[in-house]
């Protein structure tokens, strides 16, 4: 009887572990499948044409993704310029001034909610706020929508990184007579510099694939445009439209664009990770 109990425990153990191995196998298999399809379908389109030629008209051959790529770079850049400073300042307040206070707790809570809020809701917000007021879709609206997504990411990492800076550093600077803002800008920021860069990189990775908030802010544009007050082509929405189109060339471009975005995001994530590892911090 005792022997049977022992055998049953071993059996249950083996069964459960086999199941969890199988689960891990299935999960990793699916993720591998997604990535390998992406590479297989997208790689043949990764030519110089992709980044030097404009989107082709429906049903025609040739062309590339030059205007969506430029549009995405432009809007992402503006979004970073708008969102990162706000995020860093807000994170600074949470880590240096607010700390354990009640207001800081509330802001932290709301920030975490914003961090995982559906991005399409952000799109609706900017539509109501800017597109309706201005009367037309515009690259500005797209950039602001992306900036709203940047802020919570940067706030979170900035606060986490500043909290890793030992208080003894701050106290030493304060004891030398430095005002608080000098302590923060000259001591805390310097000690946490790579962490702050990591946060910005993570935010960049996050917004470069965002589609939903651009659908009805920046819309899309078949043509070259640098006018920030007009709809602007961008990679994610172009991929969305091209993938759902019946034209084979457009579908091929969608796959190549998808591969381009994925490779960019993976590369940025890897750089961000290795930066923070070199400093011995955890992200």
């Amino acid at each position: 009887m005792n022997n049977g109990f022992y055998r049953r425990r071993k059996l249950v153990n083996r069964l459960a572990l086999t199941l969890s191995m199988a689960a891990a196998g299935i999960g990793l298999l699916f993720l591998l499948l997604v990535l390998s399809t992406l590479v297989v379908r997208g790689l043949s389109g990764l030519t110089l044409d992709l980044v030097t030629r404009m989107t082709p008209p429906p049903g025609s051959e040739g062309g590339g993704l030059l205007n969506p790529i430029m549009g995405s770079i432009l809007m992402t850049g503006i979004a970073m310029l708008l969102g990162t400073p706000v995020g860093i300042l807000a994170g600074t307040w949470l880590a240096e001034y607010g700390r354990a206070g009640k207001l800081a707790g509330t802001i932290r809570f709301i920030n975490d909610i914003l961090l995982s809020a559906p991005s399409i809701i952000i799109g609706l917000f900017i539509y109501e706020l800017m597109v309706l007021r201005m009367g037309h879709f515009s690259a500005w609206a797209g950039a602001v929508a992306l900036a709203v997504i940047v802020v919570p990411v940067v706030v979170r990492t900035t606060e986490d990184m500043l909290r890793l800076v030992p208080d003894s550093l701050r106290e030493a600077a304060a004891a030398l007579g430095a005002a608080r803002w000098r302590v923060i800008t000259m001591v805390s920021y310097r000690a946490a510099r790579t962490g702050l860069v990591t946060g910005a990189l993570l935010a960049f990775a996050r917004i470069s694939g965002e589609t939903a908030p651009l659908l009805f802010t920046a819309l899309n544009n078949q043509f070259w445009s640098t006018n920030l007050n007009a709809p602007m082509a961008n990679l994610p929405v172009t991929i969305f439209q091209f993938a759902l189109s019946p034209y084979e060339r457009w579908q091929a471009l969608a796959w190549s664009g998808a591969l381009l975005i994925t490779v960019t995001i993976l590369a940025v994530n890897i750089v961000a990770r290795s930066l923070s590892r070199n400093k011995g911090n955890r992200t």
């Binding site: 689960a23 993720l31 399809t37 300042l89 307040w93 559906p118 005002a179 890897i270």
Partner: protein, 327 residues
């Protein structure tokens, strides 16, 4: 304090001017950072307010019935949110039913079974996958998963489970490929790395001492996981799952590609349907008329309230775990 003492002295201190300037800058810097922090609150408030304002015409026209009607007819200006709400809930539940056990399995594998040299690379790979944008999963679902399901899995399900009374109704009708089932599966694959990464992190908060004591008493690996690791991290696992649920509910692009955008509630899981986010993504730029647009924003309001409550609950649970871990 020292600065104020300096200012009050009759004889100007040689550094008084400088100290005053530093003091002003300090206040300005504090103001700037605090303003930015408060901006976070303003943004969330602005989101809630602007969506509520945008949804107002629809809410006034349809009242509470907006939530319980299935009709979605732009021609007659009749709109109800029931079908998208149903689609959102069903796809998310389906996604969680797939991703939770598999993610749990991956976490157990990574913390207990995986050979040490592989642990880091696999862990990092999963974290990287969590960062891939949803449009990638969407395009894969449309071109690879949907045709595959249409050719093989769905006909099989219709022929076998579809013949069983009662639950068979969920698996009847023609195999479209796209539909609620496919959308749920894609969503599950998408939140999987997220769940796996969070669960693993939570599992790693278990003090080694607890784990080793259990092993020392002669527990099998599974008994350690089930009786020590899991009870210790239950709140965290549930919180992480809710966080993933919050993502799944609001996820747009992965679903939009494969849901089929049909505003009706079908018994069959294989029929096309719609979700809140995909309805907004598909129809918003094409919507004409105040009531149509406003109804779509109304859907957004429902989604906002839904995800807000799920995320808030998740956050509260994870905070409890943090406090337990003494952070």
């Amino acid at each position: 304090m020292t600065v104020q003492n300096l200012m009050e002295q009759q004889v100007p201190h040689p550094f008084a001017q400088q100290a005053g300037r530093e003091n002003r800058r300090d206040r300005a810097f504090h103001g700037f950072t605090m303003g930015s922090a408060i901006l976070v609150l303003v943004i969330l408030g602005g989101v809630a307010l602007s969506i509520a304002v945008g949804a107002w015409p629809a809410l006034r026209a349809f009242g509470p019935a907006f939530l319980t009607t299935e009709v979605w007819n732009p021609v007659t200006d009749q709109f109800g949110a029931l079908a998208p709400i149903y689609g959102t809930l069903v796809t998310s539940i389906f996604a969680m039913a797939f991703a939770l056990p598999v993610g749990f399995g991956i976490a157990v594998f990574l913390t207990e079974l995986c050979p040490a040299p592989l642990r880091r690379p696999i862990g990092i790979a999963i974290e990287l996958l969590a960062g891939i944008p949803s449009i990638i999963y969407g395009i894969w679902g449309l071109f690879v998963l949907a045709p595959f399901l249409q050719r093989t899995v769905q006909p099989f399900l219709i022929d076998t489970v579809g013949q069983v009374p009662v639950i068979g109704a969920l698996f009847q009708g023609p195999p479209y490929g796209i539909g609620v089932l496919t959308a749920g599966l894609i969503l599950g694959i998408m939140v999987l790395p997220f769940i796996a990464a969070i669960t693993r992190d939570v599992f790693e908060t278990v003090p080694p001492l607890l784990r080793e004591s259990a092993y020392g008493l002669g527990c099998t690996t599974w008994e350690v996981v089930w009786n020590v690791v899991f009870p210790y991290t239950r709140v965290g696992v549930v919180g992480g799952a809710m966080l993933a649920l919050g993502r799944a509910l609001g996820e747009t692009m992965a679903v939009t590609f494969v849901i089929g955008n049909a505003h009706r509630i079908s018994t069959s899981l294989m029929a096309p349907g719609t979700t809140i986010s995909s309805a907004i993504a598909n129809e918003f730029t094409e919507a004409t008329g105040t009531l149509y647009t406003s109804s779509l924003v109304g859907l957004g309001l429902v989604l906002f309230l839904l995800t807000f409550s799920v995320l808030a609950l998740a956050k509260a649970m994870l905070l409890r775990l943090d406090r337990k871990a003494g952070k």
